[in-house]
Every structure is written in structure tokens, then in C-alpha cells.
Amino acid sequence: MRFLFQLPRTNVLRHFDSVVLALANDGHDITIATPGRSNDWPLPEAVQSHPRVICRTCPEVREDEWRDAATDFRTLVDCGHYLESPFFEAEKLRSRAFRTLAQTLTGERGRHLSTRCPSCNAKLVDGDFGSLRPALGEEATRRLKSLATLVENAIPSDPGRERFLQDERPDVVLVSPLVRFGSEQADWVKSARALGIPVGFPVFSWDNLTTKGVVHVLPDCVFVWNAVQKREATEYYGIPPEKVVITGAPRFDSFLALTPSIDREEHCRKFSFDPSASIVMYLCSSEFVAGHEVAFVEKWIDTIRQDSRLASCNILIRPHPRSVRQWADVDFNRFGRVGIAMSRVLNADQSLYDALHHSAAVVGLNTSAQIEAGILGKPVFTLLAPGFEDGQQGTLHFHYLLKEQGGFVEMAHDLDQHRNHLAGALRGDVDVEGIRQAVERFIRPHGWHQPATPILAEAICNLAPARSSAVRRWFTAR
């Protein structure tokens, strides 16, 4: 069979490269179609050199008269999504949606939309419009959703995309992340469906169904990580439950396959740590979630150092791989036994694995690396940090990892409680089995020892007219 992965850029493939390889190794032909100019990530050698994998440059924008209108309309609909009641408190997300809308309308970053708030006369620029919190009632939501559906249905399939798909003749089209604001990928779904080609949507990450835009055109199948995402897909996007398949998160399969590459002594030597003391690791969040996190981390270290139970521990800071620049000149030497582990690796990061492996406890505000810490059975903690509310409680996915929501992350409401949590962890007061079970539900819901890659690969094959379970057999045998 021939599978076509349509991605806005190669970077997206990092969460599915194992799936591509599994399918290719099973004898299927894979096309990775991206608009060439936005490729930002060299494909892994195994993918690039695989004889059954080819890369194609595909159209980036519609070629018909709907080119701007379709994007503008979808971006508007994405904004409207954040006026609905589940997202009423998600001001940061709403502001980002409005900022994107302003950028779409102005067409350039140098121009802005501004006005004055009718209530307080404050100046509002671009994303600030989201702070007006014009909540929609039930009836208004229903009417706007109906409008969005009718218009979307009326937007025709893009002839350029249809031609591309006709040339490629795939049996199945896969699109991800699909939910970018104003997503042009909706047109790939539309064109594939117009040609009768089944379309699958593997969800890119755990936050994708609550922090991005909406699914404008329904694919034939949505592949989600877990039950939480299945609920999100049905509740927020109206995707029929029978079209949602829980596969787990293949992006962690390679991380789960890692083993420590250095021993504790070497690790401690690398950061001038005291090998006799425990290591607490702080995982920084993305700039969107936590903005400029350096000052907060500095204050956090200071607080830790003032607690006699924690004062002597080693502290390892891991900047977010996409935000390393703000850490370039940071010097925490005055605190002693504080290291900064820079890495730009996004997936299956061996250095992250090693660092987590040798840590006794992990702290983060709201970041995917908390999941990787959970995979290694490490106790993970977060604290409600003043100034970062919008990136924490203001997002829906933050709550999914919390213990009280069935997750494994312990949340502290203040620094005192947080220090108590950490002190307990350093004493060895850790429910490793509880952590493992929560992580299993989240990334490997079919069982801790059931990799998600073959499950997703098989689900993709099941979308095609001729089905095959050989992929699974191959992966298991490997």
C-alpha cells in the first residue's frame, strides 16, 4: 500500500518517524509530503535512506480563489473556539488565537490591530482582544458552529491538492498536526475525501486538542494517545467516537527503549555535583507556557537552598529545547551544585534520559518532559507559580497530569507545600507503581509493554481498503 504523510514541515515527523519506518519495513510505500521551503528538521537517516520512503514537495497554499478566504475563515473559527465555555479561563490561549488572527488579517508582523477597551479604555493590541472575554452563550455557540460547518462544507476541494494526490495515488493520507490556527491542512483532508482517499489524523501531542485550532474538516479517523484525548476529540470537536482510535503515543517508544549511557559518578562529574547528594531536576517549559522562566528558576533555587532538608541537594536545570537562548549567559554558580543541561534534541533525548535517570525528583511548570520523567518512574512536582497562571491552570492539558485528575504530578499551591513535597521525595517517599500506572494510561493505554508504534501503524493500515496486520507482527518480532 501507499501511505502519504502530509506535514507542514519535516519537524512534525519526529513524533511519527517510528511509524513511518514500521510501515516501510512492512513493504509499504511512504511519501512524506511537505511544502519544501518550510522543512526545518533533517529526517532521521533510517527514514531518509529507506528505499520505500520518498519525500515530495507539495502545494503550500490553495491555488483557487478561496486561498485567502479559507485561511481567514478558519482562523476566525479557531478564535471563536476560545470563546466557548470550556475555554473561558484560557485567556492565554484565547489571546494567542486573536494574535494569530491579527497576523492573518494584517498579513505581516509589522502591522497590528489596536483599539481601546470600551470598559476601561486600556489600549488593546492584537492578542489583547482575547482579554475582553466575550463569552458565548449556548445558543450563540450552536449557531456559530452551524455557520462554520455550513461554510466549511461549501468551500470546495482545492484543485492543486487534488492534482497532487491524483499523481501520488496514495491508499491513505495522514495529516498532522492539522489543528494549527487557520490550518491549511484542512484542505488536504478535504481533497483526499473528495477523491475517496481515506484520511487519518494522528494527534501530534498531548496538548494539541486543547491549545490549538479546531478540526475544520473531519478526517475518517483520529488516532489519539489515550481516553482523555478521545473525550477531547468528541466533546470539543464533535468527532464521532467510532472515528477515534486510541493508539498510545508512539513518540515515546524510542525513549522507552533507551538505557542509561553514563553512570551516576560520571553524570555528577559532568556537572560538578556531589555524588553523595540527591539530584533534583528542573524541567523548563516552553516560552509560550512560561515566558521568561530564568528569574523564576533563580528564585526557586534560592528557596530550595533555604530549606535545610533540601539545601545540600544537587540541582540540574534543563532549559526547554526551543528556549535555550535565554539561558546562554545564565550563571548560577553562586548557589553551588547547580548545573544547566542544554540540549536542542526534541525526541528520544539520551541526555534527558540520563539526567532523569539519575534524578531523585523532578520539577516543572507545564511541559512534556514531565511525561518522560514519569516514564522513568520519577516523582514529578509542580507548583502554582505567580505570573504563570495562564500557562498552567489557564490551559486544560496542565490538569491532565495532576494526581487529583488521575495523573502522576503532585501540585503544590505554594513554596512551603512544594518544599515538603520535594523533601518527601528525597526521603524516598515515592509511589513508583502509581506513577507507572498513570503514565501507562496516558501514553500506552494498551499496556506498559505494548509499544504504540505498531498499534498506530496497524490502525493506519486498517484505514486502507486492504488491511494488514503484518506490521504489528514485524514490530513485535523485531
Binding site: E65, W66, D68, A69, D72, F73, L76, L105, T106, G107, R111, L113, S114, T115, P118, S119, L136, G137, E139, A140, R143, L144, S146, L147, L150, V151, A154, I155
Partner: protein, 485 residues
């Protein structure tokens, strides 16, 4: 020829009734389709056997009903963000409330500041949103019920009015007509319709306008092709042109209880939309006139004529009804201002109102904030005056207000304050009106083919021409972007 008229309300036919009768008299079959429940034909048309009344759908009946209204009302609102409407807060607010109401499905009363929220949006972004909404209009399909209705009538042409209400559904009749290859035309209902209502969401094949100002509006404000605009004049005034006073001055003053030896100044009220608190303004206006150093003005008789759509609340407890001589129509008179020489007088007539005619005819000057009756006063040849009322948002904040001003080629003298207003009125009472200027305005504005040339036959001719437009010539003008770059 079979002609289908689609009217928002049957009462709206009063602006075209003579043209409709002429068409029927010429042998055409006329169906007057009303979108309200009123199907009774006016007396002028009721006896003509070739004219029938039928009910037309008020709205679409398909899944697009709400969506189409939301999209159109949004575009109507975006229209008022254009710099030319910068001071049109009232118009913008009305469009905004209707837009929000179409989303919430209820009548909205919102603070006026909210409708100003997007006012500073630069023109390129306005244009982009307008282009988006224009494109989305093309996505709205024909409504099956409306298309079936139009098809069942088998008309040779469809004439619509007013078409430009905010979020109106008449656009769907144009859409269906085009799909069926039937030519469609818009009879512009009144002088303000192209500048202070909604947009023409679906372009008909012809637009029948009053004058060259409306041609400019059609082209500039609606991007309507100039070669498809037909200047006919305003047929609604034909009957008024033919009227003669039904009362002598003596009779008129006796009926109204005014001193025949004193000059009369009449105040013509505007609609509630234009001037929401006009009663307060009129009270002040009376006392300001009484302060005049000119004895003729300070002692003149004052008649206040409420707007036909808002007569309630103007009369005092002393209100008395009377029968107007020779025409036997009802009029009501009262003295609510505590001023012996000031009265409120009106009649329930809407078009060709003999009481209005006589009132204006016996007046030395007429005053109004912004109302169509100022045009009728000009037809009678009376000088008309206006004064800026900052509380009347529908005055300077509308485009059409300016069309009647002397400074814009009109006949209405504008005063910036009461002192100037008193001087203008005193001069009017002392002298003779500048009839040449008034007539020139009337000719340009309502009878551009000549003061003595009735308009109804011209409208009838134009509609006949519309009926002769071939199916292949029914043109598509969907997706027109209105905002200028």
C-alpha cells in the same frame, strides 16, 4: 409580461403604487409578494384585476437561515467601520446590535462603545474582512423554498424593495432569480436607503434610483456597476406634486386654533432613530424662538408635526380629533407645550398627506432635524431650516442629512446654534422664499427628468425594460468587494 414584486411589507408599495398600476393598466400581470402578514392591497391597486397579492417567505427555510443572516449582518456592520462613516455612531451601533443579535438569537441592547471597538481597524484589514465575507456570500446556496416560490410565479422579472435592510433576506430572492435566469431589479425605497441601511448582498440586474446622488452612492458605497443604474426620480411624490391646498388660510387656522394674522412656522419631527429625544429638543426650540428679538418670530404660530411612525406621546390631554374639510380625513390637535400659539397637529396619512400639505402650504418656514418631510416642504416651495442637535445621532452622523443642505446643493439652511437659526427664520418670515433654489433642488433630487414630468411612468418603463433582459444577460456579480483600498 409577468412581474413579481417582493416587498418587505405590503405597506412599502405606497412608494411605487402608481408605477404598479400603470404596469397593470398596460396589460402586465403583477404579483405583489409581501413578506409580512398583510396582504390587503391599497385602494389604488385593489380594483385592478391584473394585480394580485401573495405571501412571500420572510426568511430562508433551509439550514443556512441563521448562518446567512449572521454573515450578512456582519458585513453590514463592517461597512460602518469605513472612514466615511467615522461619525456615524448611531448607524454603526444599530448594525452592531443586529449583528450580535443574529448570533445570540435575541434582541441585543449593548453599550455604544462596543460598536466602536473595531473602528480603528486600518482599511487594508477592513478590506480583507470584507473580501472574506463577500467570498462567503458566494458560498451561500439558493434557498430551495424561495427558489421554488420564484419559479412557481414564472415571472419575466422580479422587482425588490427595499433589499438593503440590515441582514434582510431579500438577497435570497435575487440569488434565486439569478439561478433561474430571471432578471431582477431594486427599486430604491427612499433617499437614505443606500447610505444608512445594510449592503446589497446580491446584486440585482438593475437599480432604479431617484437621482444622480444615488447613482454615486450605488457605485461608491455598493460597488454597483454604473451602467446598470437607471435614474427614474422618486415616484412616491407624484401625488404630492398634484395636490392643492384643501383649506384656505382662514379655514386652516380655524381648524387648528391658530391666529390667521400671525405667520406660521412648522416643525417636522424626525424618526425616533434619527432623534430619540426630540420632545425635549422641541420644547427648547419653542422657548428659543420665543426669545427672538424679532416680534414676528417671537409671536408666530408654531405647529409641531410628529413623525408618522412616532405620533404617540406628543399630544397633550386636550387633544381633539377633527375632520379635514373636503377630504374627510382625521387630524388631531393639541396644545401640550403650555404655549397658546404652539400646537401639535398630525394625521394618520402616510403618503400624500393632505394635512401635511396644508400645514406646510400655510407655513412661512419649515424646520426639521433630518426627515423626508423636508423634501415635501420643498415640493410645496417652502424654505426649510435645520439646526444642529448634538443629541440627534441620526442627523450629522448620517450621510443623507448632508444631501439636503444648501451647502451641498440642497435647499435646507443649516444653523450651528439657535441665534443663527432665529436669524434665518426671522429673515424667512420677513421675505419671500428663494423659490428658484428650492425648485432646482426638487428637480435634481426627486424629478431629475423635469419638474413637470411625473416619475411613475418612468419607473414603469424601466421595469418593462428589465423584463426584456434576456436570460443570458442575467449577470453574475457575486463576490464584489466593497471596501476601497
Amino acid at each position: 409580461m409577468r412581474l413579481l414584486f417582493v416587498l418587505n411589507r405590503m405597506a412599502h408599495v405606497r412608494h411605487f403604487d402608481r408605477a404598479v398600476k400603470i404596469l397593470a393598466d398596460r396589460g402586465h400581470e403583477i404579483a405583489l409578494a409581501s413578506q409580512d402578514d398583510e396582504l390587503d392591497l391599497p385602494a389604488l391597486l385593489a380594483k385592478q384585476p391584473r394585480i394580485t397579492s401573495i405571501a412571500a417567505a420572510r426568511n430562508r427555510g433551509d439550514d443556512w437561515t441563521d448562518a446567512a443572516t449572521m454573515l450578512r449582518r456582519t458585513r453590514d456592520y463592517i461597512r460602518y467601520l469605513h472612514p466615511r462613516y467615522a461619525s456615524a455612531r448611531l448607524l454603526r451601533h444599530r448594525a452592531f446590535e443586529k449583528m450580535v443579535g443574529s448570533v445570540s438569537d435575541r434582541a441585543e441592547t449593548l453599550g455604544t462603545d462596543w460598536s466602536e471597538l473595531l473602528l480603528r481597524m486600518p482599511k487594508p484589514e477592513q478590506k480583507r474582512i470584507d473580501a472574506l465575507l463577500a467570498k462567503l456570500e458566494t458560498a451561500i446556496p439558493c434557498d430551495p423554498d424561495i427558489e421554488a416560490f420564484v419559479a412557481a410565479q414564472r415571472p419575466d422579472a422580479i422587482v425588490l424593495s427595499p433589499l438593503v435592510g440590515v441582514g434582510f433576506t431579500q438577497a435570497d430572492f435575487v440569488k434565486s432569480a439569478r439561478a433561474l435566469g430571471i432578471p431582477s431589479g431594486l427599486l430604491v425605497f427612499s433617499w437614505d436607503n443606500l447610505s444608512n441601511k445594510g449592503l446589497i448582498h446580491e446584486m440585482p440586474d438593475r437599480m432604479f434610483v431617484w437621482n444622480d446622488i444615488q447613482v454615486r452612492e450605488a457605485v461608491k458605497l455598493h460597488k454597483y456597476p454604473a451602467d446598470r443604474v437607471v435614474i427614474t426620480g422618486a415616484s412616491r411624490f407624484d401625488e404630492f406634486f398634484e395636490m392643492k391646498p384643501t383649506t384656505t388660510r382662514q379655514e386652516f387656522c380655524q381648524l387648528s386654533g391658530l391666529d390667521p394674522n400671525r405667520p406660521i412656522v412648522t416643525y417636522l419631527c424626525s424618526s425616533k432613530f434619527v432623534a430619540a429625544s426630540e420632545q425635549t429638543f422641541v420644547s427648547r426650540w419653542i422657548s428659543e424662538l420665543r426669545r427672538s428679538s424679532d416680534p414676528a418670530l417671537s409671536g408666530c404660530s408654531l405647529i409641531v408635526r410628529p413623525h408618522p411612525a412616532g405620533g404617540k406621546g406628543w399630544h397633550g390631554s386636550d387633544a381633539r380629533d377633527l375632520r379635514w374639510p373636503r377630504i374627510n380625513e382625521k387630524a388631531t390637535v393639541s396644545r401640550p407645550f403650555g404655549d397658546e400659539k404652539s400646537i401639535v397637529m398630525n394625521s394618520p396619512m402616510q403618503n400624500a398627506d393632505a394635512v401635511l400639505f396644508d400645514t406646510v402650504y400655510h407655513s412661512a418656514g419649515v424646520v426639521g432635524l433630518n426627515t423626508s418631510a423636508e423634501i415635501e416642504a420643498a415640493i410645496v416651495g417652502r424654505p426649510v431650516f435645520t439646526i444642529v442637535d448634538s443629541n440627534a445621532g441620526g442627523q450629522e452622523g448620517t450621510l443623507h442629512f448632508h444631501y439636503l443642505l444648501r451647502s451641498q446643493g440642497g435647499h435646507v439652511e443649516l444653523a450651528g446654534d439657535f441665534e443663527e437659526h432665529r436669524q434665518q427664520l426671522a429673515a424667512a418670515l420677513a421675505g419671500r422664499p428663494d423659490r428658484a433654489t428650492i425648485d432646482a433642488f426638487v428637480e435634481r433630487f426627486v424629478r431629475p427628468r423635469g419638474l413637470s414630468v411625473a416619475v411613475a411612468p418612468i419607473v414603469a418603463d424601466a421595469i418593462e425594460e428589465l423584463g426584456s433582459v434576456g436570460r443570458d444577460d442575467v449577470r453574475t456579480t457575486q463576490g464584489t468587494v466593497l471596501t476601497e483600498s
